[in-house]
């Protein structure tokens, strides 16, 4: 009993800090509709800032805390709102989920760059008042913890006063109620959003400072994950209710501490020793399942700015062939290390492909793609296991691949089934929670699991040595163990799967999937069983993820269990896939290459430049190299609000001029092929080849545009001529229309006098 009370006290202390963190999340979500995944990163940045002031520069604690919580964090929140979040209005739920992911990675990248770039110094945070404590119900409670409890109570009170007694707070609630009515009443929703982001960030900062002493030394992602633990509390409050969020936070804090109590601080059941870390994810999953059923959405809710064009089957097959041919040519002139990064990129592209079907077409979200890779590897091992494991096998057998796909498909169906009634964001969070649970309980598990089912004994082997080795295939009499052969195998696989996915999209099944995304309500009234269709899409996509994951693992050869499965990689891949163009197979390809290029190739290029030009070393390596490595991936995601349809769309638009000038295009392609031949023979270095060919990608369409200007102008005029009467009706009136009208009416083209 004594123990029970003691653990209860500690649980409530922990819960209080979670409450502060989760409340910040609620404040921003309820006024802006953005679930700020970057909340944890804001907390991390603030905790580091506080450490800098307090322990590096030795500022007094009150000043440091004031500067952190009342100046630095709110400013960070303000900047985020103004620069990033404001652009998200009218975008899809996917974009609104992904952009904060980019912000999270960007902030964490910046933090790593600022504090952990060079030296491996330990940044050790200390509790307020050090180890001073008092006994409460026989349990030593640190002053630091007491301060946390007091602050959470003060914050609860202050939020109540703000939201119910002040004009600003009431306006914040009014924004949630009816944004346009608020504008009709002269309210400024933008200012309200700014205020709520500042408050949310400030609460994140405070939570970060309070939580950070739990870590012996500050680490960027560890601290971010620590704040992630508070997210279930916000979901318990349905992202809107502050009181319910407090209740959720207390349940969370108490569950963790009660687990410590009954498990003897993790000593009792070794198999479950990671369960403590999985508790928040389990609670998150549970809280999501308890959410009430959504009413069927209609198109009004889902109407967004994203638009995706569907290629014809001919185009798909043609471009698939072009991809394979180009890859074959390219790899023949590339250095070994370049082939490795390219192979890595294609492997990631394969993983992103599963998201095209699931997210791009069906509008559902999976934030645990890498978890499926882990599951696939484990499943494949069960099939191929020899006396000493997978590593001794010469080839990845077809049976293992099929088993992995089946298992992934079943697992996908299994998590989707309870989560199917959830809507976009909540479904995304559920998959994320699932990923964390599998990571903590399965992937980090090194002991084989023994089961006794119906008298038979089964053993499931997991990542026994902390890593698994996956052999490359030896199929159709071809050995794909070599890097180049394997790259080609993956490229062909990508082309085949990509064509298959486009075929699905063009089939009746694909139309139903898209219809389901556009208007679930209309689909239901046409007799479509949404649950079955969604489940099916989830299972197919999971199977693709499994296959892709296996290829990705085989590309890596040896897969450690602690690097890629903690959730961040899945978030990153999802984000980049959306940036690439989630509705396009080509978008998935761009995403994988992009990810590999940004995190590997760009820093390499800057390193090379730095050693070539030592006087500019600081610029290339210290600034640009680090920047592209740490912050680059995030920057591309942050720009998403401006162009939610992704890079693939932009590229296609950029190359449209080529269609009008087939002759010039043929010459250009021929020139590249000649250049390739020259490189192959060794007459041109591959460094110059890539420089020229990549450069021409950007320049040639522009040249063609300017050379054949007449042709384009003519076409535009023809388009405008068609609907002269409808100018300003079918689309907004542009100043260029005036000229068109003037020409049509035979008016002299005068100076634009009198127009504004």
């Amino acid at each position: 009993m004594q123990d029970f009370l003691a653990y209860t006290v500690l649980g409530l202390c922990l819960g209080s800090v979670y409450a502060i963190a989760a409340t910040g999340l609620v404040v921003t979500y309820s006024t802006s509709g953005v679930f700020n995944i970057a909340h944890g990163a804001v907390a991390t940045m603030s905790a580091l800032f506080y450490w800098q002031l307090r322990f590096d520069w030795h500022a007094p604690a009150p000043i440091a805390i004031f500067l952190t919580v009342c100046v630095f964090a709110p400013l960070l929140g303000l900047v985020l709102e103004v620069v990033v979040m404001r652009g998200l209005r009218g975008t899809s739920e996917v974009t609104r989920l992904v952009t904060p992911v980019a912000v999270l990675l960007g902030i964490n990248g910046a933090a790593t760059w600022i504090w952990f770039r060079s030296s491996n110094r330990a940044l050790v945070p200390k509790k307020f008042f050090g180890e001073s404590n008092v006994k409460v119900l026989g349990q030593a409670v640190y002053y630091h913890q007491i301060i946390g409890v007091l602050l959470s109570i003060v914050i609860a009170g202050a939020l109540y006063v703000l939201l119910y007694r002040t004009r600003l707070g009431v306006t914040m609630r009014a924004t949630v109620d009816d944004r346009s009515l608020l504008m009709l009443n002269g309210g400024r929703p933008d200012r309200v959003s700014m205020a709520s982001w500042a408050i949310g960030a400030s609460l994140a900062g405070l939570a970060g400072v309070l939580l950070s002493p739990q870590l012996g030394a500050l680490q960027v992602f560890a601290l971010t994950l620590l704040v992630f633990d508070a997210y279930p509390a916000a979901v318990a409050g349905r992202l809107r209710s502050v009181p319910l969020t407090y209740v959720g936070a207390m349940v969370l804090g108490l569950s963790k501490l009660y687990f410590d109590w009954i498990s003897d601080a993790g000593q009792r059941w070794l198999v479950l020793r990671n369960l403590r870390n999985a508790i928040p994810a389990l609670l998150l999953f549970g809280a999501l399942l308890l959410l009430p059923q959504d009413r069927l959405r209609g198109a009004i809710v889902t109407r967004t700015r994203e638009r995706f064009r569907v290629p014809t089957m001919r185009e798909a097959v043609l471009w698939g062939g072009v991809l394979v041919a180009a890859m074959a040519m390219l790899q023949s002139i590339m250095s070994g290390s370049a082939v490795i990064s390219l192979a890595n990129g294609v492997a990631l592209s394969l993983m992103a492909l599963s998201l095209v079907l699931l997210t791009g077409y069906a509008g559902e979200i999976n934030l645990a793609v890498f978890t499926f890779a882990g599951v696939a590897v484990i499943a494949a091992w069960q099939f191929d296991v020899g006396p000493t494991g997978l590593a001794t096998q010469k080839s990845l057998s077809v049976g293992a691949v099929l088993l992995a796909m089946c298992v992934c498909s079943l697992v996908g169906g299994l998590i989707a089934l309870p989560a199917l009634r959830l809507r976009g964001l909540y479904l995304g969070l559920a998959t994320f929670a699932f990923g964390i649970i599998v990571y903590q309980l399965v992937i980090l598990q090194t002991q084989p699991l023994h089961f006794n089912i119906f008298g038979g004994k089964f053993t499931v082997n997991l990542f026994t040595n902390g890593s698994l080795t996956v052999p490359r295939p030896h199929w159709f009499g071809i050995n794909f163990a070599g890097q180049r052969a394997f790259l080609m195998l993956m490229t062909v696989l990508f082309a085949v799967l990509g064509i298959g996915i486009i075929a699905i999209r063009r089939s009746a099944y694909g139309r139903m999937i898209v219809a389901m995304k556009d208007s679930p309500a209309a689909c239901a009234t046409l007799g479509l069983n949404l649950t079955r269709l969604k489940l099916g899409v989830f299972m197919v996509s999971s199977a693709i993820a499994g296959l892709a994951g296996l290829m990705w693992a085989a590309e890596r050869r040896t897969l450690p269990n602690n690097a890629d499965f903690d959730g961040f990689q899945s978030l990153l891949l999802f984000m980049i896939a959306v940036v690439g163009g989630i509705g396009y197979v080509s978008g998935a390809f761009i995403a994988g290459i992009f990810l590999s290029v940004l995190s590997v190739v760009m820093p390499d290029v800057f390193d090379k430049l730095g050693s070539d030009y030592p006087s500019l070393h600081w610029l290339f390596v210290t600034v640009l190299g680090n920047f592209s490595h740490y912050v680059g991936p995030a920057l591309v995601g942050i720009g998403l609000g401006k162009n939610p349809s992704g890079i693939a769309q932009q590229i296609m638009d950029g190359f449209r001029p080529l269609k009008k000038a087939p002759g010039a295009t043929a010459i250009w392609v021929a020139a590249i092929v000649v250049l390739w031949a020259a490189t192959w023979r060794g007459a041109v270095s591959n460094w110059h080849f890539s420089l020229i060919s990549v450069g021409s990608l950007f320049i040639v369409p522009r040249i063609i545009m300017s050379v054949f200007e007449d042709r384009f102008a003519e076409e535009e005029r023809a388009v405008a001529g068609e609907d002269l009467d409808l100018i300003g009706i079918d689309r907004a009136f542009r100043s260029s229309d005036r000229q068109v009208l003037d020409t049509a009416l035979g008016l002299p083209a005068g100076p634009s006098g009198g127009v504004e």
């Binding site: 004009r167 609630r173 109620d177 009706i729």
Partner: protein, 235 residues
């Protein structure tokens, strides 16, 4: 007609690429009550949304006190004295009566004064000051919306389907107040699908069909035409 406060000049507007208003011109004078009537889907509400800045115009212009305000955001217009009560949702349902009134204090008015005026005008509201607006009856909600709108001392008042779902007595009381407000010099543009309730207080009426104004005139002149517009040629 006295000086024109609100004027629409050949306004074309719609949603996305679909045009709903095909060249609408209207003028409301100072202290005038203009009733905009017509069947549903005719573009009446869109006209109000255009004026209040929620829908962008494609061509034409909107003048407020002789200044062009096309493209000005809704919140700015509200602060310029253009106040509107949208159809069926003029209150913030999850705020209390008091908090709803608080939303009118951005002009610098004191909440106490706003409350006093509101409760004198509609005594029923004073009993409900801490009740959530969404839980009140439709009539009380419209009283609240009207109180909040008037507390900002608007120059122009836009009312969309004030009578919708309300008992005739309540409608009469609300329009009585509209008439009083107009007396003080506020220009009022009232949109109604059902004519009778508003014709009594309107100075002029306009009929809108399929995105065009088809008739403007004194209420009495239009009364007969209205019947045919709604019930199909019965006269």
């Amino acid at each position: 007609m006295s000086e024109t406060v609100l004027e629409l000049l050949d306004v074309r507007a719609g949603y996305g690429t679909i045009e709903v208003l095909h060249g609408v011109s209207l003028a409301v004078g100072r202290g005038e009550v203009l009733a905009l009537l017509g069947p549903n889907g005719g573009g009446k509400s869109t006209t109000l949304k255009v004026i209040s800045g929620l829908v962008d115009i494609m061509s034409g212009d909107v003048h407020l006190a002789s200044r062009s305000v096309a493209g000005v955001s809704a919140d700015k217009l509200a602060r310029l004295g253009l106040c509107s009560i949208p159809e069926g949702k003029g209150v913030f349902p999850n705020l209390t009566v008091r908090e709803n009134l608080m939303m009118a204090t951005h002009t610098g008015a004191k909440l106490g004064d706003v409350e006093e005026v509101a409760y004198t005008r509609f005594p029923r509201l004073s009993d409900r000051r801490s009740q959530l607006a969404g839980t009140m009856s439709g009539g009380e909600q419209q009283m609240l919306a009207m109180s909040r709108a008037l507390a900002t001392n608007p120059a122009v008042l836009l009312l969309d389907e004030l009578s919708m779902g309300l008992a005739p007595l309540v409608v009469a009381r609300l329009y009585e107040i509209v008439a009083q407000v107009a007396e003080t010099g506020v220009s009022v543009l009232v949109v109604e699908q059902f004519a009778q309730s508003v014709l009594g207080i309107a100075d002029r009426a306009a009929i809108m069909l399929s995105g065009r104004i088809t008739r403007v005139g004194a209420p009495a002149e239009l009364a007969e035409e209205l019947s045919s517009a709604y019930l199909g040629g019965k006269g």
